[in-house]
Every structure is written in C-alpha cells, then in structure tokens.
C-alpha cells in the first residue's frame, strides 16, 4: 500500500486520490446488505482503507451491488448509477449478479448484470465474508493503478448498446438518454 509515498502524490494526485478515498453509496440490494454493516463498524473496520458510506449518489465513488437484482431494483440501480459523478467504479458481490446464482430460473431476477451496467470487479461467494470484501478493495486499487478499472469509460463509449438492452427489458424508459446517441460525447444531464 503506497499511501505514504509523497512522490507519487505529487506526480499523479488524481489517481492516488481515487484509490485511497473510495466513498460508497449505501444502496441495499438483495441479501448482501447484511454483510455491509459488519464491514463498516468496529470489528472489520473499513474506514482505515478510506471507504465510508455516504447518503447520496452525488457524493459517491463506488457502487456495490450486493446480491440478486430484481427488475424493479434494476430500474433504481440504473438511475442511481447515472447520477454519480465520474470516475466511478462498481463491484458486484455474490454469485447472483455473476450468472443468476440461486435464482437462475426465476422469472423476475436479472441473470447477468453485466449486460445493463458495467462492472469492474466480481467477488464470488454467497455472501462473501468481510475479509473477501477487503481483498476486493485492494485488488481494485491495483486495477486503478494500471488503468484497468474502466467501467465508466465503457459505459460512455457503448451507451447505445447498454440502452438498447435496458429497453428490451423494460419497454419505454421514463428517463432520457444520458449521453446523446450516435453523436460525439457530450453530457446532456
């Protein structure tokens, strides 16, 4: 962990800042929300990594999808994800977002969340333990170092395909497109 090396802070303050102060939106999906309070309270302390929960998506950096996602929850997740300022990172917990998990033949849950929201990292388990969550945070740091955590860039470039997948599932969407489709990138929100 190179939080103490002053030279790196002077050369690339943006990248080091994104690593060592990840603020997570306190969004509760599915079963995994029972694993988040132990992570942020006294026994397994997440604040020493710089991770604190914040109340609104406008102040947040990190989005954790903790568990299975039903159709109504997916609408709320998309709207919350589009409100976060860039650069933003998403991490998916458990086996339900990966391939459906225990609900692989259910009529109301999403099987692969990667088709609707870009995901940077996956954590296996049902639910993963807090130690696994901390290993995921350190792996996310290494990815940000190499420049491989590019979920938000992929969302911006392939927005046409993401939006088409969302419209196949929900019909007409109630919110306008975040980036203008078939034009140069220009934020319209």
């Amino acid at each position: 962990m190179d939080r103490k090396s002053v030279i790196k802070w002077i050369k690339e303050p943006g990248k080091m800042g994104h690593k060592y102060s990840l603020w997570a939106v306190y969004f509760c999906t599915g079963c995994g929300i029972i694993e988040i309070p132990p992570v942020i309270t006294s026994r397994w302390d997440a604040e020493r990594f710089g991770v604190i929960p914040v109340a609104t998506p406008r102040q947040a950096n990190l989005f954790m999808i903790t568990g299975y996602v039903s159709l109504k929850t997916l609408k709320a997740i998309i709207r919350t994800y589009e409100q976060m300022p860039e650069p933003k990172y998403t991490v998916a917990f458990g086996s339900c977002p990966i391939n459906g998990g225990m609900y692989w033949d259910s009529y109301n849950t999403i099987k692969h969340i990667d088709k609707y929201i870009p995901i940077d990292g996956w954590i296996a388990g049902c639910m993963p333990r807090p130690e696994a969550i901390f290993i995921a945070v350190t792996k996310l740091w290494m990815m940000i170092d190499k420049g491989a955590a590019t979920g938000y860039i992929r969302y911006r470039k392939n927005y046409k395909f993401y939006r088409r997948n969302q419209e196949k599932l929900f019909g007409e969407l109630a919110w306008p497109p975040l980036y203008p489709i078939d034009e140069k990138e220009d934020e319209s929100e």
Binding site: R3, G14, G17, R48, Q59, N61, P85, E86
Partner: protein, 294 residues
C-alpha cells in the same frame, strides 16, 4: 510584510482546520475501539474531490458556495492568531458577529437553485439553530465588551496577558455559557441536526458532487477554525506565539470531540429549549456579575 500576513493567515487556518477534521475522525475511531483512517485523510478526500466531474445546477448554485467561502476567508482576516492580524484596526467584534452569518446564507442561496427539498429542510434547520445560539452568544459578547470597554479583539487579548484569563475573572459565567453553546456553533452532536445523513440525506450537501463538495469541505474546516479561535481569543487569553495558541485550541477541540462521541442527537425543539434556558441564564448572570464587580 502586510501582504505576507494576508496570504499566510487563511493558509494557516486551512492547515489547522484540515488537521482538526482528521483528528476528529481518528479520536472517534479510537473511542469505538478500532483503528481509524490516517490523520491526513480529509486532505486526501479533498484532493480526490477536486478530480471529479461534478454537476452544476446553474449560475447561482456556484455563486452561493463561493459567497459562503469568501465570507469565511474574510472573517479569518479579522481574527488575531497569536500576533498575526491583518485587519486589526477596523471593526473587530462587531464585524465578526455580522459576517459569521454569511456561511449559512451563502449555502441557502445555492441550495435554492438545486432542486431538492432536502436542501431546504437542512438549511432551515441550520438557520433556526443559529437563532437558538445567537441569543446567549450576543449576551456573552455584550458582557465581554462591557468589561474590557473595547470592541477590538487585539486589545482584549493584550489585557489578558500572563495568566489573567477572562475565564478566571468576573466573566466566569460568560465563559461557562460559551463553552455550553460551542457544540451548537460547530455542528457536532448533540446538535448535528443540520447535516444528518440518515434523516435528510446530509442536508445542504445533498446535491454537491466533485469540486463543489471539495469547496464545502474546505469551508467546513474554516468554520471549525473560526469558532474555536474566537473562544480561545476571548476567554483563554490568546497566545504569545503560535505554539501556545495551537495548544489551547487543541485542548478545547479534544473536549468537544469527547462530548460528540457520547451524546445522541437532539431534535430541533429540544435543542432550542436547551439553548434558550441554561446558557442564557448563565450569560445573564455573567452580564450582571461583570457589571457589578468591574
């Protein structure tokens, strides 16, 4: 020389404010029996926030925040800090009393442009709370001005040289009253109804993201510095050099953190009932006692 003082004074206030914010999180974490973040964590947060792309809701949204930040910087220029005081010969206590209200009013102006009802609720709570602590605060200021017969803070500091602090003089009751309303002025428990994360999604800061939140953090650091420095100057004798001034501020701040980590949050009418009862009684006593024994 004067130009150096003008630039140096807000910069020093920023460093001390950020250090106090980090110390706050570290002490609270140790009381919870866990390791906390490193002490420079608020500085890392501010660096991260300035590298994010925030959304703006209009021109007034930006200008309100800049107005509030400018008000804080001007108040710092009027406050003596161990012998450094750029604007010592004009106004003094009366100007500080007036300009300290720029902080919530600036945020109210920017919050009117952001289209979120949580902002209006948060800022109305902040203004009602300042109505609560302004009543004993004005009585304390009147008693201090009456006792030392001046409105210039530098003269008040100079006449408390050595160990003749105002806290040990007939102004004892006013000092106690000021210590009782300090948590309300700082915005910590039991009076942190203003920025309650669970109730109103952190109140006035709910629509800030990116660089606006960074400016809001800097302004929070400034307001901590202003409140504690004013108390140390008026009642604890200022300081001959920076080291003793900083030591006195540290003692006051650590006692505030210990109060914060023990108490729950009071509702707004409970807070007003407290602020208009006991601190006001003590401030009245202070006015009367200091007038009799002058």
């Amino acid at each position: 020389m004067k130009v150096v003082e003008f630039v140096f004074s807000p910069f020093l206030a920023f460093i001390i404010g950020v250090f106090f914010l980090g110390l706050f999180r570290k002490i609270v974490a140790r009381i919870h029996q866990r390791y906390g973040p490193p002490i420079i964590q608020p500085l890392l947060d501010v660096i991260k926030l300035f590298h994010q792309k925030g959304f703006s809701h209009g021109v007034l949204f930006d200008l309100g925040l800049i107005l509030s930040l400018a008000g804080s910087i001007v108040v710092i220029l009027f406050l003596p800090f161990a012998g450094i005081c750029p604007l010592k010969s004009s106004g003094g206590l009366l100007v500080i009393l007036y300009m300290m209200l720029f902080l919530p009013l600036g945020i109210a102006l920017s919050g009117g442009e952001g289209a979120n009802p949580n902002i209006s609720i948060g800022i109305s709570r902040k203004l009602i709370l300042s109505l609560g602590y302004e009543v004993p605060f004005l009585l304390i200021i009147i008693s201090v001005m009456n006792f030392y017969k001046t409105i210039s803070i530098v003269d008040i500091v100079n006449s408390q040289g050595g160990f003749r602090w105002a806290l040990f003089s007939p102004l004892f009751f006013s000092g106690i009253a000021y210590f009782m309303i300090l948590p309300a002025m700082l915005g910590i428990r039991p009076f942190d109804i203003v920025s309650a994360p669970q109730e109103i999604s952190s109140g006035p800061q709910v629509e800030y993201g990116g660089k606006y939140l960074g400016l809001s953090h800097i302004q929070h650091a400034f307001s901590i510095f202003i409140t504690i420095a004013l108390f140390v100057n008026l009642f604890l004798g200022g300081g001959e050099n920076i080291f003793f001034f900083f030591l006195k501020m540290l003692v006051v701040f650590v006692s505030m953190v210990l109060i914060h980590s023990v108490f729950p949050r009071l509702r707004l009418e409970q807070a007003l009932r407290y602020l208009w009862r006991w601190p006001t009684i003590f401030a009245f006593l202070g006015v009367i006692v200091s007038q009799i024994m002058r």
